[in-house]
């Protein structure tokens, strides 16, 4: 039944207007970023914001990025991939069993560990960056890839997601049935729980990878120079853009549109993961709210 009074009609119009305005707000900058590398700096300044330049310009910009300090950009991307994938592996190995144990086994200190995990999970990771820096510089790990990989691997949110998943998706009865069939505790985990765990592994992997890939503050203090990941490198690149630093006499300069292309390159891996992950994301982000 549709209410067609003028007030209801007006309400719907306002609602649609809001939806459209915010869709534009969220999407316009990204669309602009996709177009920007097709234009030269001159075209960026003079042409309409959404006019298309040429693919040749993209190639030129690509060339200038590739040659920027002997391919430093690729070193940064490689670093990011290395740190994030190593951390992802450690995160899965540590958090999946931990979440399982918290959800489906009994041991002393279980409640305390769960409460600590929840609390640490809600503390923003940036709050611990300088304390971890101070700690790691006391043991002389600054500048070592481990200084990023190890803190990246500590991911209490992953433990929480796994805990929620196992406590809702798997019943203790199912595990008991396997036990009666003679399965050992490790076999119960490996043969009953793990085959059902694919969705939560994907979810933990997704959040771990994207948050580490986008992390700026932690690697910025831990890993300077050539060891930096792309997020830190991108900000570094900024100081080679004459528009932003006219006094800089750096030998290799980066044009504005090449910087836009570099930004695209930096976000591409996360964007791709996003496109593939969107379906299960909605489920995951509301994991805490599902009722039993």
């Amino acid at each position: 039944m549709r209410d067609d009074s003028p007030a209801a009609w007006l309400g719907r119009a306002v609602a649609i207007l809001l939806l459209v305005v915010f869709a534009a707000f969220f999407v316009v900058p990204i669309v602009w970023l996709l177009i920007a590398p097709t234009k030269t700096d001159r075209q960026m300044l003079l042409d309409a914001p959404f006019s298309f330049g040429s693919l040749q310009t993209v190639a030129d910009n690509w060339q200038s990025l590739v040659s920027f300090q002997d391919g430093l950009l690729w070193t940064w991307i490689g670093n990011s991939a290395f740190y994030c994938i190593a951390a992802l592996a450690i995160t899965l190995v540590t958090s999946i069993p931990a979440g399982y144990a918290l959800a489906l086994t009994e041991f002393r200190g279980r409640k305390a560990l769960l409460a600590t995990t929840l609390i640490v999970m809600l503390v923003p990771s940036t709050a611990l960056v300088l304390p971890i820096f101070l700690e790691l510089s006391a043991v002389h790990l600054i500048g070592n890839p481990l200084a990023a990989i190890l803190p990246f691997s500590f991911f209490p949110f992953g433990v929480y997601l796994t805990y929620i998943y196992f406590s809702t998706a798997i019943s203790r009865d199912l595990l008991d049935a396997a036990r009666i069939d003679g399965a050992s505790e490790v076999q119960v985990f490996a043969r009953v729980a793990m085959p059902l765990a694919t969705p939560v592994i994907a979810l933990v992997g997704f959040f771990s990878f994207t948050s580490n890939w986008n992390n700026y503050f932690l690697p910025y203090v831990m890993l300077p120079g050539r060891k930096a990941p792309i997020q830190v490198g991108l900000a570094e690149m900024l100081s080679n853009v004459p528009q932003f630093n006219p006094t800089n006499a750096a030998s290799s300069t980066i044009s504005l549109s090449a910087l836009a292309l570099a930004t695209l390159v930096a976000i591409a891996p996360v964007m791709i993961v996003f496109l593939f992950a969107q379906r299960f994301l909605v489920t995951g982000m509301t994991a805490g709210g599902t009722k039993e």
């Binding site: 309400g11 609602a15 809001l18 915010f22 869709a23 969220f26 900058p29 990204i30 914001p49 540590t94 958090s95 069993p97 931990a98 144990a101 086994t105 009994e106 041991f107 002393r108 279980r110 769960l114 600590t116 929840l118 609390i119 640490v120 809600l122 923003p124 940036t126 709050a127 611990l128 300088l130 304390p131 820096f133 101070l134 700690e135 510089s137 006391a138 803190p151 500590f154 209490p156 505790e185 986008n214 700026y216 503050f217 203090v221 991108l234 900000a235 900024l238 932003f244 910087l259 836009a260 930096a266 996360v270 996003f274 969107q278 909605v282 982000m285 509301t286 709210g289 009722k291 039993e292």
Partner: protein, 287 residues
């Protein structure tokens, strides 16, 4: 059997617990130690007094505070309103599509989102240059003047984060039973009354969750002002936020004790909020 379960439980949490100690508890303990000592000698609250008296400290608190007010108010109002509107869309593909569009910027965080906003905020190249010119900004440096920086930073943070929260609220709205909504409609409640008297009260826990996480995260402000400072050649100062100040203490002044004192203040704020929320927020009852 019970014993075997206990052993496996302990074995399974052991590795995670090591990380929890090394990168959660130990750094916090070390920060506490550093904050109350100087050259390994106990100095009471001297480090705190020193950083509080630093001429840069109060302005940084003020900057972060203003930013938080603007950001949190807009986050609460807009996220709730948009989630309710998106939830009311009857066409499935449209609703999914809108949610996805809103969520896309979530892929950009850290330096890359600020980098994109450098372009958006520069009237000479911006996709919304007409808006910036309309507001009277003709150069990047004018756009990032200190007095409207809290608003600018709030817009950037909203752009990256709001979509995720809209999805969370949308999920929570799905948990409200249709019968309740239907009953309200039969009683003659329009969409606004339904939202105000039924949906928003049932979203309260989730709104609290968003506010706690956003408030704690917002106090940590670092990358946005840092990159803007780099790009504006110091128009945005290097010590704009508290974390930047803590950073300068550690890296420019080699004063780890002062740095630890500021970090500890921020950590305690986040920790207190988090503890209150875990035990009082109503979201983690099962724990």
């Amino acid at each position: 059997m019970e014993r075997a379960q206990r052993q496996v439980g302990l074995a399974f949490i052991s590795l995670y617990t090591v990380f929890l100690v090394l990168f959660g508890l130990l750094p916090s303990a070390y920060a506490i130690y550093l904050a109350f000592t100087k050259r390994n000698a106990f100095v009471g609250v001297a480090n705190f007094v020193k950083v509080f008296k630093d001429y840069r400290f109060l302005p940084a608190v003020e900057h972060v505070g203003l930013y938080l007010v603007v950001w949190l108010v807009s986050l609460i109002i807009l996220v709730v309103v948009l989630a309710i509107i998106v939830h009311a869309i009857g066409v499935k593909w449209l609703s999914t599509g809108v949610r996805f569009l809103y969520y896309i910027p979530g892929a950009l965080a850290g330096a890359s989102s600020v980098m994109l906003w450098l372009f958006v905020l520069d009237p000479t190249v911006s996709p919304v240059s007409f808006l910036l010119h309309g507001l009277g900004f003709n150069s990047f440096v004018e756009t990032v003047q200190a007095d409207h920086l809290p608003v600018t930073l709030a817009i950037i943070a909203f752009w990256t984060g709001a979509g995720g929260w809209i999805i969370v609220m949308y999920g929570a709205l799905n948990n409200i039973s249709r019968d309740v909504i239907e009953a309200a409609r039969v009683d003659g409640a329009g969409p606004i009354r339904t939202a105000w008297f039924i949906q928003i009260p049932l979203l309260r826990k989730w709104i609290a969750y968003m506010v706690v996480l956003s408030f704690a995260g917002g106090t940590q402000l670092f990358v946005e002002p840092r990159v803007l400072s780099q790009a504006s050649r110091g128009v945005v100062s290097q010590d704009y936020s508290l974390n930047q100040l803590a950073f300068l203490y550690a890296f420019k002044q080699s004063d780890f004790n002062g740095s630890a004192a500021i970090s500890l203040v921020l950590l305690v704020v986040a920790l207190v909020l988090s503890v209150i929320f875990v035990f009082r927020g109503g979201l983690f009852e099962r724990a």
